[in-house]
Amino acid sequence: MAKNVLVIEDEPNIIEAISFILSRDGWRVATHSNGVDAVSAVQSRRPDLVILDVMLPGRSGYDILRDLRAAAETADLPVLMLTARGQTKDREMAQTLGASRFMSKPFSNAEVLEAVNDLVRP
C-alpha cells in the first residue's frame, strides 16, 4: 500500500518536480500551496509524511510546524522542512520546533528521496 505525502510549498515548478519524483518512487502525493490553512489540510488528509516549506504565503512554515507539534494527532508526524536560507539560525529554529529533518535549497532529487524514505518506509 502506497504511503501518502503532503507537499506544502508555493513554487509551482518545485511542486511539480517533487511530485513527479515522489510518485515515481511509489508515493501517493498531495500538494497544498498556502500557509493559512495548511494545518487543517494536514489534519483532513492525514498524510504519512509532510514536506513543509518555511516561506509560504500567508503563514510561516515555522508557525505551521509549531501547531502540528502541539496537536496530539500530528505531534509525531514526520516533517521534512525546506528552506532557502540554510543558515544555522534557521536550522536551529527548525530543530527546536521539532522538525524531523531539515533541508536547504537548492537540494537534489536524490537528497529528497533519501530523506523521505529515511523518515517513512514506503
Partner: protein, 443 residues
C-alpha cells in the same frame, strides 16, 4: 575656549577607542545621553567633578582628557598597543614615540581608529542578510528558482523512458524558470550593488529617485502633454534597476494626475480662487479648488506641487510642500516646504495632521501647526486620507494620506506644536515621544 572645547572631542575619542556606547558612558557618569552628546560635540563646557567621573568611567587620568592633544594621542597609542599585545618595554616608551615622531604617532593612532570603524562596517555587512529584507527576499527567489531548475533538469537526465508529455512539461518549466532566474539574479546584483553604494555614500534607490524629482522641480513637460513616462525615464539615468522601477511608478503616477487634472484647468481655477476677496493669504485651500474643478482634493494637492516654477511664482504666495504616506506611516512622496523638513529615514512625528487624517478617512482637515525646532515656523496644512482604489467588499481599503503644507504667518492664540521626528525634536513633555531627543537639553 579652545582648551575646554577640545575636551569633548577627547572624551568621545577615548569612549570610541574602548568601544563604549554614548548612552552607557552617560549612565555611568550620572548624566543624560543628550547632555553627554552636547559635551562630546564641545557645545557644553565640562570640568570639576563631572570630568573626574567621566575620566573614571573611561579609565583614564582626568588630565588626559583636559590636557594637551599629546595626552590623548598617547592614550590611543597605548590602546592600540594593548590590543596587539605589544611588549611592555615598548609601551613604556609611548611618550618618547609621540614626542620624537609626532607625525608617525598620529598616523598610527588614526589607523587604529580607522581599523575600529572598518571592523564595525564589516560586522554590519556580515549581518546584512539578517537585516536587509529586500536582499533576503531576492536571495530566496533565486534559490527557489535554482531548486526548481535543478530538480526538473535532473528528472530529464535521470529518468529513463520519460513520457513525451512529461518531457515537454519539464522543458517548459526549465525555460520559464531560467528566465525568472536571470531576472532574480539581476535584482540580487542590484540589491548588492545598491548596498555597497549605500554604505559608501548613504544613497538608497529611494534617495536617488527623490534627488531626480527634486532637481527637476517635480515638473515634467512631457507628462503634461501625455507623452508618457518612458521619455522622462530615458533621460533619468538611474543607477540601479530598483531605482528605475521606483521612478517609473512615480512618473506614471504623475502622468496619470496630469491626465486627470490638466494644467490649463488648474490654472483657470487658481486664477478664479485668487480673485476672491476671502482668498487665504498663505495659499489656496485645495478643497475649494477641488470643488470648483469637480475632482478629489488629494489630486489637487499633488498637482499644486507639480506646477512649473514660473507659474508657481506667479500664482502662489509660496511654494507648498507635500507629504504622502500609506497606512503604515511610511512616507512615500515628499516635497519639503521651506522651514518644514521631512525625515529622510525613520518615522515622522505622529502629531502631524497627515496621520490624524487616517483616523478620519475621506474627511479633509485644515490645521495650523508650528514646527518645533530652530526655525519655529508656522504652517497651514490640509490633510486628507483617501482609498487608493475604488473600495470593494471584503477587500481591505488601501488608504493613502496626503498633507499639503503652506508656510504661513503666526495667528493669534495657541497653535499646536509638532516636530520632524523624535530624535531631533526639542519638544519637552510630549506624550507622543517614542525615543529620547538628541536636541532636548536637560539640566
Amino acid at each position: 575656549m579652545p582648551r575646554s572645547g577640545l575636551t569633548g572631542s577627547r572624551i568621545r575619542e577615548r569612549r570610541e577607542v574602548i568601544g563604549m556606547r554614548q548612552a552607557e558612558l552617560a549612565r555611568q557618569s550620572g548624566i543624560s545621553a543628550s547632555y553627554l552628546n552636547l559635551i562630546e560635540h564641545n557645545r557644553r563646557r565640562i570640568g570639576g567633578k563631572l570630568l573626574l567621573d567621566i575620566a573614571g568611567v573611561l579609565g583614564v587620568e582626568p588630565a588626559q582628557l583636559s590636557e594637551g592633544a599629546e595626552a590623548a594621542l598617547t592614550a590611543t597609542l597605548r590602546e592600540a598597543a594593548a590590543e596587539r599585545q605589544l611588549d611592555s618595554s615598548e609601551t613604556d616608551r609611548v611618550e618618547e614615540l609621540a614626542g620624537r615622531f609626532p607625525g608617525w604617532a598620529r598616523l598610527l593612532a588614526d589607523q587604529h581608529a580607522r581599523i575600529g570603524q572598518l571592523e564595525q562596517s564589516v560586522e554590519a555587512l556580515t549581518d546584512r542578510l539578517a537585516h536587509d529584507p529586500h536582499l533576503a527576499a531576492s536571495l530566496h527567489e533565486v534559490l527557489s528558482t535554482v531548486t526548481a531548475i535543478h530538480s526538473a533538469s535532473s528528472i530529464l537526465v535521470e529518468t529513463r523512458e520519460l513520457e513525451r508529455e512529461w518531457r515537454d512539461r519539464f522543458h517548459r518549466n526549465i525555460h520559464e524558470d531560467s528566465a525568472r532566474l536571470a531576472e532574480g539574479a539581476q535584482r540580487l546584483v542590484d540589491e548588492l550593488d545598491a548596498g555597497t553604494r549605500q554604505d559608501a555614500t548613504g544613497h538608497s534607490p529611494q534617495d536617488e529617485v527623490q534627488a531626480f524629482l527634486d532637481t527637476s522641480g517635480w515638473h515634467f513637460p512631457e507628462l503634461e502633454t501625455g507623452q508618457g513616462a518612458a521619455k522622462v525615464l530615458g533621460r533619468a539615468e538611474m543607477g540601479t534597476g530598483v531605482a528605475q522601477d521606483l521612478l517609473r511608478d512615480r512618473l506614471e503616477g504623475l502622468a496619470d494626475d496630469a491626465a486627470r487634472l490638466p494644467l490649463d484647468d488648474l490654472l483657470t481655477a487658481l486664477k478664479a480662487e485668487r480673485a476672491l476677496e476671502d482668498a487665504p493669504p498663505e495659499g489656496p485651500d485645495p478643497t475649494d479648488l477641488a470643488q470648483r474643478l469637480g475632482v478629489g482634493a488629494d489630486l489637487v494637492m499633488r498637482r499644486l506641487v507639480a506646477l512649473p516654477a514660473d507659474l508657481r511664482a506667479d500664482l502662489l504666495p509660496a511654494a507648498p510642500g507635500i507629504v504622502v504616506a500609506d497606512a503604515s506611516g511610511t512616507l512615500l512622496e515628499r516635497r519639503e516646504a521651506e522651514g518644514f523638513p521631512l525625515p529622510r529615514y525613520g518615522a515622522a512625528c505622529p502629531l502631524w495632521p497627515l496621520f490624524q487624517a487616517l483616523h478620519r478617512p475621506m474627511l479633509p482637515l485644515r490645521q495650523v501647526i508650528e514646527m518645533a525646532g530652530r526655525a519655529e515656523g508656522t504652517f497651514v496644512t490640509y490633510a486628507l486620507a483617501v482609498p487608493r482604489q475604488t473600495p470593494r467588499p471584503d477587500e481591505p481599503p488601501n488608504f493613502r494620506t496626503h498633507m499639503l503644507i503652506w508656510p504661513a504667518t503666526r495667528p493669534a492664540g495657541r497653535v499646536p506644536r509638532v516636530g520632524v521626528t523624535c530624535r531631533i525634536c526639542p519638544r519637552e513633555n510630549c506624550t507622543a515621544r517614542r525615543e529620547p531627543s538628541i536636541m532636548a537639553e536637560r539640566r
